[in-house]
Point group: C2
Chain length 341, copies 2
């Protein structure tokens, strides 16, 4: 077979606020690949099937002199993220052609590599699309599941507040908390997302653009646990409405990725006044500790006991726009790019 | 004996920034007490010997409508804090006349009460003045000792940064950390305090008014533990220079007591990026867990193995001015009011 185009989404600029498609990332079709003959050098040739768009990708678009360290993207190289790859050819006896890996892939259609970071094999399962393995059964789901198990110290009857609760991480946390007998307060940025929250059992679901978070927490709190995906004024409101010995789980600060460090926190002193424990984490640290996730959650999905919501974009050439929409809070579910069937 | 004046330091106004003597607190001599005949109703008559001035007193000057809760001072009533009282008369068989209690007392010369909050008996010990029991052997010392034991997870060879390190809490932490084999970085606000830090073995002691904290931490860090007494830009610098899995211990935020919530934090996202655990606490929660403190630390003091620095003000009538100086960082050691010999 003749060489085919190997489309790639390149990191081309450090965003001023959020990453703009066609400016900070550009879809490039200049590279071709000979799928039959490209040398594998002991590795594998992957056809990327799905890729995951997540707010934290923005955090890696910092350029060579930033403090983001090794995990920062390199200018001119593809953006990277979680995906599912089908192995077309393999010189690795552990992973034969025809099998699938979930892991950290560049945003390109085909890729040759010796090893895939954070990877594990996945097999087809009824009711579990490939896309779920980069969502509720993948990194975001595991972030919610493992972070919750590790840090929440949840007790039935307690109250948890989850921000960005309609996101994949947030919705996983909300459903786990509900199953453990907690009162769940969840915020989201559109009425459509609020409806989704109600459909998964969130007790108090509200649109933070229409209702003041502080007022909701004053009425429905105080809270014992805050799952933070956003930082900024929402974190400040959670601090103001927290019970003694509250647990705050810092999963991300969406407002900060987008250059939003302009908000002046007023209630940081609640950390000692309410004797709060604030735990920040990134998922690689917890992965080795909770292997049951990779069995338990696909099973729950397959049985219809763990719900999820996807916003699927078809074609890698549209990934930049999907990323932009995601950063602007316009995704209506877990943002997924369907690269190939 | 005829009734005597019972001088009191009253809470008279909610400070705009810091508590101003003669305005936000006023020394009042309108009350008298008949020491021989005042009814005890089963309680004890105390002669207050020493009282402790601490930055956190400012945090309780919030007025009736604040969120400081039960622990807030009542307008028109005396300010309260830790002190040592000699029992002049007693109807309590557990605490006879002539014995001494450390505990939570109103800022007044004499006081009748049935029980003293957070109290325990203390006996005279060679080399340990009464004042030490509200300092290094008392609440501030226990705050440093117990907070360090509970949250630091310190390992020899690690690096700790202590802000306000010349204060009683900070100096206790610095000496414990040094004894456990850590590299200790300590900041203070005067050259005199920096000299004190060097005298207790702090490896890198600096005056934060003359040297940029961020530059010092960049050079001498990254840090594994931050003991925070001040919040604000110092906390922000610590976040920026923290190792993965750092432990931040939030003991107080001096900059916030004084209405300093105007600083916009830039590095809160380091909490998840560096997977930091931030533990806020107030000492009553830890007191039941570390009873050995009350034996071990007086012994260390008596043996000259735990050093401390006192700034003694004679006379309750001068307590307001001492509190003002303390808030302005002008105390040259643990701020103590000697109420009576």
């Amino acid at each position: 077979m003749a060489p085919v185009t190997n489309g790639r989404l390149l990191f081309t600029g450090i965003p001023e606020v959020y990453a703009i498609a066609g400016k900070d990332n550009v879809y490039d079709t200049s590279e071709t690949i000979d799928l039959d003959n490209v040398p594998l050098n002991g590795g594998m040739l992957f056809k990327i099937l799905v890729l995951s768009i997540d707010p934290y990708l923005r955090d890696k678009m910092r350029g060579p002199d930033s403090d983001a360290g090794e995990s920062a993207y390199k200018l001119g190289k593809p953006i990277e993220g979680f995906g599912v790859g089908e192995i077309l050819r393999s010189e690795n006896s552990q992973h034969p052609a025809g099998s699938h890996l979930v892991g950290w892939f560049p945003f390109q259609q085909y890729w040759v590599g010796n090893s895939v970071q954070y990877s594990y094999p996945v097999a087809p399962m009824k009711g579990v699309p490939w896309s779920a393995h980069v969502g509720v059964a993948g990194m975001p789901g595991s972030t919610g599941y493992m972070g919750w198990k590790e840090f929440s110290k949840a007790k039935a009857g307690e109250t948890v507040f989850v921000s960005a609760a309609a996101g994949c991480v947030g919705a996983t946390v909300a459903q786990l908390a509900k199953a453990e007998g907690l009162k769940v307060i969840g915020s989201a940025g559109t009425d459509e997302k609020v409806e989704f929250l109600k459909s998964i059992g969130v007790d108090v679901a509200f649109n933070y653009k229409k209702v003041d978070t502080n007022e909701v927490l004053k009425k429905e709190g105080p809270i014992d646990i805050y799952w933070d995906n956003v930082g900024g004024p929402t974190l400040d409101a959670a601090l103001a409405n927290s019970n003694r010995y509250s647990r705050f789980i810092e999963c991300g600060m969406l407002t900060v990725y987008n250059g939003g460090e302009t908000y002046t926190m007023k209630n940081l002193n609640m950390i000692y006044r309410s004797e709060i424990t604030v735990s920040g984490f990134t998922i690689p640290s917890l992965m080795p500790k909770y292997p049951e996730f990779y069995v338990e959650v696909p099973k729950l999905i397959s049985e219809g006991k763990m719900k999820f919501n996807e916003d699927i974009t078809v074609g890698l050439e549209n990934a930049g726009a999907a990323f932009e929409a995601n950063q602007l809070g316009k995704s209506t579910g877990k943002s997924i790019v369907l690269v190939a069937e």
